[in-house]
């Protein structure tokens, strides 16, 4: 057996540690400025690769990261393992039951979000191959690649964006996640067909046989293997050391699955991804195991893989403005239009559809993996791969602000959004019924509802069960025919008895009107208000405020 020599081992270890160090450092730097760490990791690779280090110190760069020889093979092996395990953890999050749970809306958005970019991408590449770096000899495999590379989204970046914007737990957030899951799953199935198209050149199976074996493999993994994991995981977790044995088992099965897909002519990463879906779905896979594996892969394998991209290409020499512009324009527009269209068909409003479109426009790991496979198979040029990396960086940076901008008009679950100086009144009303009538009259002007109907609803609710909470807070409320909730805050000079739990009487009266067609919004608002006023000292300070603007600023500062 051939071994690496001592000097090669030394170079290998130095190279890996530099890749890891710079990748993690830049990843953390970008994390600090609220950007995806993958951007930092790719930039670290560009700095270490031929683009920068290679330009100034070509000999040193070649010594550390050679493009041929045993050291290059060793580094390539590590990055191949990295991407296999990365795809395993991405697969973990592809929970197909969520798509079924969320129903038609997620399916429609996922489907249009994939079909529109695919068809337009394929068509444009067919008509104008040069704008994507092709030529008159480009064939259907090239067109197919352009279509599918524009169609796939980036689940981790989208999940992160939704979490940052507090949209994760909303109905909109759940629909987006389900649509992305469907989009990625369907996209990868199509991707496997693409892999079989380019893979059959070097493998014994015919195209149709490869596709058939692939489908059988997917079905086998998602039914029998999935059931087997579900059955044996509790046994393994209770009888063997945990989480060590579970992690080892998952890694062994991932590698076997990856090896199988490599044998049948589609790339190893596809096997890892599908196995991730089968294993991640099990209710017996402990959250902690998943998190440990995620941490390990994210902090070790992900930086190595993303840095390795920059090592392979010269981003200045391979920068072609036409190709970059084409990928950015067609990549972004087709995705936003496709998902936005699907959202409109599924019944979402304009703002919600734009939010969904921009959220699903985020790209990441999968596009890069796909592009690398195509590049290694000689289907695309380095100019196109550079353009795709730029699309990933661009969409990662712009996704969150764009979603934030459009979600502004649909985000209806934060009390902060409802605070309005014009809706705060200081009053000396002492009678409960008069107070509620007065508040309903004011609310009617803002909602265009009839005051008497509003009063009947709010007073009826109050009579049925008084709405005093504690710490001087009372929240008379009703569900009415409106699109956005409305909050009016009245500060009383004297307390009125709303039968609060602490018998203190109420002086901070918040009239809350919420949409009748979504009962959960009312519960969200009530819960948030109760949380804000849970401390007596906070309520006392609110009562010390002299003007509406002072009061609103004070509450805003403390939410």
């Amino acid at each position: 057996m051939e071994n690496l020599g001592s000097s090669e081992v030394t170079r290998f270890l130095i190279a890996i540690s530099i890749m890891l160090f710079l990748g993690r450092t830049f990843g953390e730097l970008f994390r600090q400025i609220k950007q995806a760490s993958v951007i930092g990791e790719i930039i670290a690779g560009i700095l270490l690769g031929p683009t920068l280090l290679g330009s100034f110190f070509p000999e040193f760069q070649d010594w550390l990261f050679p493009t041929s020889g045993v050291l290059a093979i060793a580094i390539d092996s590590i990055t191949t393992l990295s991407v296999i395990f990365l795809l395993l953890v991405v697969g973990f999050e592809i929970d197909l039951s969520i798509v079924l749970q969320q129903g038609k809306a997620a399916l429609i958005i996922g489907l249009t979000g994939m079909m529109v970019p695919f068809i337009i991408g394929y068509g444009v590449a067919f008509g104008f191959p040069r704008i994507f770096g092709g030529d008159e000899n480009s064939n259907y495999i090239f067109f197919f690649f352009i279509g599918i590379s524009l169609a796939i989204s980036a689940l981790p970046i989208i999940a992160r964006t939704l979490m940052d914007l507090n949209l994760f737990k909303s109905k909109l957030g759940m629909t987006i996640m389900a649509a992305v899951i469907f989009n990625d799953f369907a996209g990868w199935l199509v991707f496997s067909v693409f892999l079989s198209l380019i893979g059959t050149k070097s493998h014994s199976l015919e195209i149709h046989n490869t596709i058939l074996v692939t489908l059988l493999f997917v079905m086998f993994l998602l039914t029998i293997v999935r059931k087997g994991i579900h059955k044996f995981l509790p046994w393994i977790q209770s009888r063997l050391s945990w989480p060590g044995s579970t992690i080892s088992l998952l890694m062994i099965l991932t590698l076997l699955s990856a090896a199988f897909t490599e044998v049948i002519g589609i790339h190893a990463i596809f096997g890892a991804f599908i196995f991730g879906i089968a294993a991640g779905d099990s209710v017996h896979l402990k959250e902690r195991t998943r998190e440990i594996l995620n941490q390990f892969v994210t902090n070790i394998f992900a930086p190595l893989f993303f840095v390795s991209i920059g090592l392979q290409f010269n981003f200045i020499q391979s920068f072609d403005p036409v190709i970059v512009a084409a990928v950015l324009i067609f990549g972004s527009l087709t995705k936003i239009i496709g998902c936005g269209l699907g959202s409109r068909i599924a019944g979402f409003g304009k703002s919600e559809s734009l939010t969904i479109g921009f959220a699903m426009n985020a790209r990441g790991l999968l596009e890069i993996v796909l592009a690398l496979v195509a590049f290694n198979a000689g289907i695309i040029t380095s100019e196109l791969i550079v353009a795709i990396v730029i699309l990933v960086l661009f969409s990662s940076v712009t996704s969150s602000p764009a979603v934030s901008y459009f979600a502004g008009s649909v985000k209806i679950f934060s009390i902060k959004d409802l605070l309005d100086v014009r809706n705060v009144i200081f009053t000396d009303i002492r009678d409960k019924k008069n107070l509620i009538r007065e508040m309903c009259n004011a609310a009617a002007q803002k909602t265009k509802l009839r005051p008497i109907e509003l009063f009947t609803l709010v007073w009826g609710r109050e009579e049925q069960l008084p709405t005093g909470i504690q710490n001087y807070l009372a929240i008379p409320h009703a569900k009415v025919d409106i699109q956005r909730p409305v909050l009016l805050i009245y500060i009383l000079k004297e307390t009125i008895d709303f039968q609060a739990f602490d018998d203190k009487g109420s002086r901070i009266i918040c009239l809350l009107l919420s949409p009748a067609n979504n009962p959960e919004i009312q519960l969200n608002m009530l819960a948030q208000l109760a949380e804000i006023f849970k401390d007596l000292s906070f309520s006392q300070k609110v009562l010390e405020m002299k003007t509406p603007s002072e009061l609103i600023s004070f509450i805003r500062e403390h939410i």
């Binding site: 991405v90 039951s97 899951i181 519960l523």
Partner: protein
């Protein structure tokens, strides 16, 4: 109480008499009419056999209606339920079906999926029926969940159950993967705690909205796969009765393959399951 006509699908299975006893006890407890449905060709020997079982269960004459239905058992039972305005159907079912039966759909599971009324399922009915014991009810704030909670509350009161626990379960797909993109475990844990606290507060208000302010009601928020976590929790706490909503649409084959919500609940049934329609 919400139920005025209780139906029972009577079979000549080993648990037939026990189910009759359970149905009779419940009809008395809820002051509801009792309708017995048997799917099969009416004949003297079957009638006598049925009569024997009814007497053995201690049901007096004139305290029930007997309906003979024909055809496919699932369709026949569901038709009898709608035609006779039955608002609660009682059935026996295996706690867990063999895999093939589960995927193809047994009679009991098919009725649960396609139900036209509320259904109470017993996995181990007794000829000497007992009280429900601890009742657990699951809410998801969707249409119909108010009925789930108010029914569970009324049953707990009427049946003198030692406790009622209201469960809110929620899951967030893709949460783990946010770690891969600039997230950290501590942040996820903090968010998870915040969301659970929010849900607890919402649950309080939800019960208040239903005018249920009994301090003895336990409120539990569970994070995990919907349907599965509540089922596991109820089993762990030795629930006497689990109350859930009927599915909004009829679950299909794919819902069984990629199990979620209601399918988790009926995959491994608790001691007693009440599905509210």
């Amino acid at each position: 109480m919400n139920f005025s006509r209780i139906g029972l699908a009577v079979t000549f299975s080993p648990t037939g008499v026990a189910l009759l006893s359970e149905a009779y006890r419940l009809s008395k407890l809820l002051e509801a009419d009792l309708v017995l449905i048997h799917v099969g060709e009416r004949g003297e020997s079957l009638e006598n056999k049925l009569k024997e079982m009814i007497i053995k269960a201690g049901i007096s004459d004139g305290k029930y209606d007997l309906i003979w239905a024909k055809g496919d058992p699932v369709r026949a039972i569901l038709s009898a339920v709608s035609e006779n305005n039955i608002d609660l159907l009682l059935m026996g079912a295996l706690e867990k079906e063999k895999s093939i039966n589960y995927y193809l759909g047994s009679i009991a599971r098919k009725i649960m999926r396609e139900t036209v009324s509320s259904i109470l399922i017993f996995t181990s009915p007794s000829e000497n029926p007992e009280e429900f014991g601890e009742i657990f009810a699951v809410t998801n704030y969707l249409e119909g969940c108010e009925k789930v909670i108010s029914t569970a509350y009324n049953l707990a009161k009427v049946g003198k159950s030692p406790s009622l626990t209201v469960i809110r379960e929620f899951q967030l797909p893709g949460l783990g993967i946010t770690v891969s993109d600039s997230g950290d475990l501590e942040e996820i844990e903090k968010n998870r705690e915040r969301w659970i606290a929010e849900e607890k507060e919402k649950l309080n208000f939800f019960l208040l909205e239903l005018n249920i302010s009994d301090p003895d009601i336990k409120k539990v928020v569970l994070f995990g796969k919907e349907g599965w976590v509540a089922n596991e929790y109820a089993k762990e706490k030795n629930a006497g009765l689990l109350v859930v909503s009927a599915p909004k649409r009829k679950p299909g084959f794919f819902d069984r393959i990629f199990t979620h919500d209601f399918e988790f609940t009926i995959k491994e049934l608790p001691k007693r399951l009440l599905i509210i329609k």
